[in-house]
Symmetry: C2
Subunit: 446 residues, 2 copies
């Protein structure tokens, strides 16, 4: 039997960040991270294994941060939490007694209730090096791949697989547009156009009814009766919280079936915290249950859990939902609510959009068109969402919006926002799209 | 005699933005912009004329926004404001009666009190196409140029002139480092190293005592007695508010000699507003007079002035001071106070720094090292400054910090900040430098 002050179950983004945070805040505590994977893929990097990066081995979370922060780690699977004894038991027969425990068991790929998903060469995207390797091997010998799901993971996987040149890639999406859960249709349409120009085929508004083939997949059947030929199928329709261990330990689950926590990331057991994809979340907007699962949310939660272990210091404000993606050299990003989703949630909204060059003058190198849409709650004029596209800097521009959303900035606050601008780096201060979109929302009010 | 509802004097960033803002907020008013320049250079783009962009004619603020927003414009110089009659008189003999007036007369290059500045081939950087053209002509036939002043303008001018290949470029800076008014010495040193690697010579901690030569400049004499040979001298030591017109009209000036305004950008005359470089500013930090002059501040002030013309809607919060620059493909940016300056102002500060790759995994294209330093007021843990370097996205990352500074976010707020991250666009959420710098500042406290 081993003893530790802090045990952390799970070694992906949330577990690792929780361990580092715990070390920073509690320099004298013994901290142990237990994970079942020998090698841990960088979750957001997975689609890039199949094109840009080249292999799962080149997309690993290094162990050096654990070593550097003096975190013990054990590669073994935790199979039981004994809440009374305050211990965890592992597959390998170890028992580790903890003072505080953090569960960061992440998520597993969601499988749709459609016959045929067990067939050979159907690949849900597991965060597992061996499975990713076998998927990549198959990819090299395939000719036609169907990607089920046109969300971020499906879009990124398709674009990367398509880049390799040997594959005919088709996305099947249930909704009328790819990326529709994040973006309004005008942004979805731009992303789809880019993908198609790059050679990815898109079949939107299409329900998959079965996976065809005997032992091995041969095609994907749609509700229309049409069968898409495929020697490989990738499934990217989302993930579900991995709560098996928590359930077995009788920890409370929340309304979406993830591990319930309060705003300090504490479960119903005062000595057990949970963070990351396995954890129940609530929306920054109105506090409703939120199904968002993002590495960036996981890390924010881990920094709350890790700091609160031996004294409450931090509280979650709920998920804002900030994400970005890239198709070629074009970046797409979103923070907060889309117009579509906000209306569904009962918000009365006004929007403003601004579009123009991201350099000044426009002849500066790196010039690209940048488009920013802002969404405000009509009565209070508070910012509740943004959608953007442009060059790579949009990956940070969306974080400007995130900070403004978190602080409930209004149209006028944003119109007077003091941003830095530079000819070689940003739009001109006169046309700065983030600010001008606010001004154009004001016009829409009058 | 002409009549207008709104007259705006000055056609650079502030004047143009004030005109557009006035139009947006007051769709039925007659708005007239009067400027003396036929062609208006984009102020921040001026250094790039001499290298990347190629000519002053390619760095102009277009007139299309004025036309698009139905703003009349007159190219003529306003020589007098008659506050009683509410009219302005021009060099060309026009008299224009206004209801509201916005002064946006900008700034002029500062000239140091050193003998010899009147000599031929000494160039203060005027925002004037003809002068810029003649400067560029001279540059083409020169061999040795000395740039007096190692602030942003001096550094950018030097790097661009050096890029052309035919010039030997030396910066003379009075302070121990270039860029020292904005950055702490560790960032200055990095910028200087880059500049020197690119071929620019730097003489810091050097006082210029005179400009040598008969009619034409032949050299620059330093306090040490050393003379730097030069057939061209560029002066970039800052700018002074152009307040001649305001002074003549007996408008009140502020402690730095610029046009005094209240927080709504109104002068002591209730019908006259002022915005941009000609306008007195106060610091976001403690409200002290601020000498900062930036196009982005000018535009923010213009959006306040333009909106408030016929009804007060917006107030200035004071200058945060957000700026960025680039040396080659490396960007440098700052928001708020530097450590050095904060201490001079009596702040007790703690700092945190984080450095690492801006992509995840590091093998993603565009990988560059990114460094973020954050500065907090010690007792309240409120963010008061940041300095950054990295790739072009640092131009927007610094605006994340600006939003956080404006909302007085604390170390813990930033540690839990919800940023979007993506392998192709940003640092990993685990090492995201803006957040980790906050965590490391916490460590520094304990």
């Amino acid at each position: 039997m081993k003893k530790t002050d802090v045990a952390i179950v799970g070694g992906s983004a949330a577990g690792l960040t929780a361990a580092i945070t715990a070390r920073r805040h509690y320099p004298n505590k013994k901290i142990m991270l237990i994970r079942k994977e020998k090698l841990v893929p960088i979750p957001c990097g997975i689609p890039y294994i199949f094109g840009t990066v080249g292999s799962a081995q080149k997309n690993l979370i290094p162990d050096t941060p654990l070593e550097k922060h003096n975190v013990d780690f054990l590669i073994d699977e935790v199979v039981e939490i004994d809440r009374e004894k305050r211990s965890v038991k592992t597959q390998g027969g170890e028992e580790i007694v903890y003072d505080k425990l953090i569960i960061a068991t992440g998520s597993l790929p969601m499988m749709p209730p459609i016959p045929g998903f067990e067939k050979e060469n159907v690949y849900p995207v597991y965060k597992d090096v061996e499975r990713l390797n076998s998927m990549q091997d198959k990819m090299k010998s395939s000719k036609k791949v169907v990607v089920i799901g046109g969300g971020f993971i499906g879009v990124e996987m398709s674009d990367e697989m398509n880049k390799m040149g040997n594959l005919d890639v088709t996305i099947c999406e249930l909704l009328p547009h790819c990326l529709q859960l994040a973006f309004d249709s005008e942004f979805c349409a731009e992303a789809e156009k880019l993908l198609e120009e790059r050679g990815v085929k898109i079949l939107a508004d299409q329900k998959v009814t079965s996976i065809e083939g005997n032992k091995k997949v041969t095609g994907v059947k749609l509700a229309s009766g049409k069968v898409l030929e495929a020697d490989m199928v990738v499934v990217g329709i989302g993930t579900v919280a991995n709560v098996e261990l928590a359930k077995k330990a009788n920890l409370r689950l929340g309304p979406t079936g993830s591990i319930w926590v309060d705003r300090t990331m504490r479960t119903i057991d005062e000595n057990i915290f949970s963070c990351g994809d396995c954890t129940e979340k609530f929306s920054f907007f109105g506090g409703k249950p939120s199904k968002l699962k993002l590495a960036s949310i996981a890390c924010s939660e881990a920094r709350i859990a890790g700091a609160n272990l031996f004294g409450t210091q931090r509280e979650s404000v709920g998920t804002i939902g900030v994400f970005s993606s890239a198709i070629g050299d074009r970046a797409f990003a979103v923070a907060g609510l889309s117009e579509n989703f906000a209306k569904q949630q009962g918000y009365e909204v006004i929007t403003g959009t601004s579009e123009g060059p991201n350099r000044h003058p426009g002849s500066m190198p790196g010039m690209a068109n940048q488009k920013v849409k802002l969404l405000f709650e009509k009565r209070t004029k508070v910012l509740i969402g943004t959608q953007m596209m442009g060059d790579n800097a949009v990956g940070e521009l969306v974080n400007v919006a995130s900070a403004c959303i978190q602080h409930k900035m209004t149209i006028d606050d944003i119109a007077c926002f003091q941003m830095g601008t530079h000819p070689a780096l940003t739009a001109s201060p006169v046309v700065y799209q983030f600010v001008n979109a606010a001004e154009s929302a004001l016009l829409a009010m009058s």
